[in-house]
């Protein structure tokens, strides 16, 4: 590899993870540029979600390296990875049902993250301003005092995206952000993503091809834990290997 390390936000090299002998991700390498929206697609079981899990520390890699802004992530704890600037959204909306929208966002606000920091945490003007601004972005300004469990499915997805935004991550990882959304909500989400990606890199796992075309700068196709093809959407779409996998599927 002749490319210099600091050209990329994220460098994944030779990444392998095996579950009891089954290699869910096998010698995978890819690189994400600063400010890029990268979408990972692939048939079920290709290892897409596992890649996100590996990057954010939820799963430990068997071998290989993941570098974020030159920092090695594979040995870090989840929260440390978050502190370096990586944010992750889960496939199913993962929010705190028992708390209000306001509190959901407030908890995600990156201050008072240690035990004693939390004890000393004050809900000052700055926090309120940030929360309100974020709520506006994710279309939930009027629902701040609503209990999060009572939101609609789409709103929950947005709330989770909002919870990531307020962390101000440099790398945003989204796992099927539009799954289960109505057509109108999808549209709104695509706009939202396009707006919030300014100034940060985004890694998205998605099935919805229309949505992928809407947002992707580049696409990585995974199959059986390996990269099958990589490039622009158009290029990938015409790759015979990809066509075979998808049709064969």
């Amino acid at each position: 590899m002749s490319i210099k390390a600091n050209d990329f936000v994220l460098e994944v090299e030779g990444l392998t993870v095996s579950f009891d002998g089954f290699k869910a991700v096998n010698d995978l390498s890819f690189y994400v540029n600063e400010g890029e929206i990268r979408v990972i697609i692939g048939p079920n079981g290709a290892g897409k979600t596992t890649v996100l899990d590996l990057i954010c520390g939820r799963t430990q890699a068997t071998t290989g390296s993941i570098k974020f802004r030159g920092k090695e992530l594979t040995r870090m704890k989840e929260h440390e990875i978050v502190h370096t600037g990586v944010g992750r959204k889960f496939q199913n909306p993962s929010i705190y049902d028992d708390l209000t929208v306001f509190e959901n966002l407030e908890i995600s606000y990156p201050r008072g993250r240690s035990v004693f920091g939390a004890l000393a945490f004050k809900r000052d003007k700055e926090v309120i301003r940030e929360v309100e601004a974020t709520a506006e972005t994710i279309f939930l300004k009027d629902d701040l005092d609503k209990q999060a469990g009572l939101l609609s499915h789409g709103q929950k997805q947005w709330l989770e995206i909002g919870m990531l935004l307020i962390q101000k991550p440099d790398l945003l990882m989204l796992d099927e952000p539009v799954a289960g959304m109505s057509v109108a909500e999808r549209k709104k989400t695509a706009d939202l993503l396009n707006r919030i990606t300014e100034g940060r890199s985004v890694l998205v796992v998605e099935h919805d091809m229309q949505f992928v075309e809407d947002i992707a700068h580049r696409v990585t196709v995974m199959h059986q834990g390996k990269v099958l093809s990589e490039g622009s959407m158009t290029r990938v779409k015409n790759d015979p290997k990809v066509i075979e996998v998808y049709l064969g599927h």
Binding site: F19, D20, A24, T49, T50, D53, R58, T59
Partner: protein
Amino acid sequence: MFDEYTMSELTSILAMQGFAGLILFSVLVLMALGLAIIFGQMGVINMAHGEFMILGAYVTYLTAKLFETYLPSLFDGYFFVAMGLAFLASFALGVLVEWCMIRFLFKRPLDTLLATWGLSLILQQLYRTIFGAREVGVTLPDWMMGSYPLSETIEVPINGIFVMVLTLFISLCVYLLMFRSRWGKQVRAVVLNRPMAGAVGINTEKIDRYTFGIGCGVAGVAGSAFTMIGSTGPTSGQLYIVDTFLVVVFGGAQSLLGTIASAFTISQSQSTLEFFLSGSMAKVITLLLVVGILMLRPQGLFALKIRH
């Protein structure tokens, strides 16, 4: 510390101590199997497990009385009848408990723990009211008593062999039931994906009920067998509960093989330590060892690696 013994004494002690460990192993497996089925397959913590065992013991006691009075000629064989009845009684109670309690508490394992603890209190008092506070003595047929001398110094307790054979038999039954029968397949399907199992036409409620029932039934058989080596009283069940849970947890909740392996590990370390230390210290060290290993391997000895 071995200086004082001759070689032959040492060998025989080693053999007998190994055998003591094997008996303990069988006892632990018997205790834990029922719990492993319920905990592993349903995620339900059954704190009344000990009381289900004692139910089996009381059934054995009643059967013995019955045979003594009405069928003294068949007394030698009553134990097998008793074990069958013990299974049925515990199974029936288990199904009943599942129907009126457990099924409302799915997905709330910590709550099942509290509710079944309440159940155990009620059962204890029930036994006390029916059978009296005193322990009852279960008379065993003569052939089950005493020991079989292998050599001059090595003697093998017959009831120990009986417990071992029984354990083998029950484990085999459970294995066949869980892994070789249609029913077992359904159970495992429900464990892996409940909505999906329901969608393909498996009656998940029925599966749950019978799984719970069978777990309790196995406990009943264990209780029946324990009349040979332990006491039968209203509170005897409590003696077993912590050990049983540790065996299951240590083994990795969802693996029957793990339960057996952990029972083996715990029994061998316990009986070895008991030989060198006092009984109390042996127990403390064994428990600490288990807790320590659980910290290092929280998923237990034999947990499956699961992909998120």
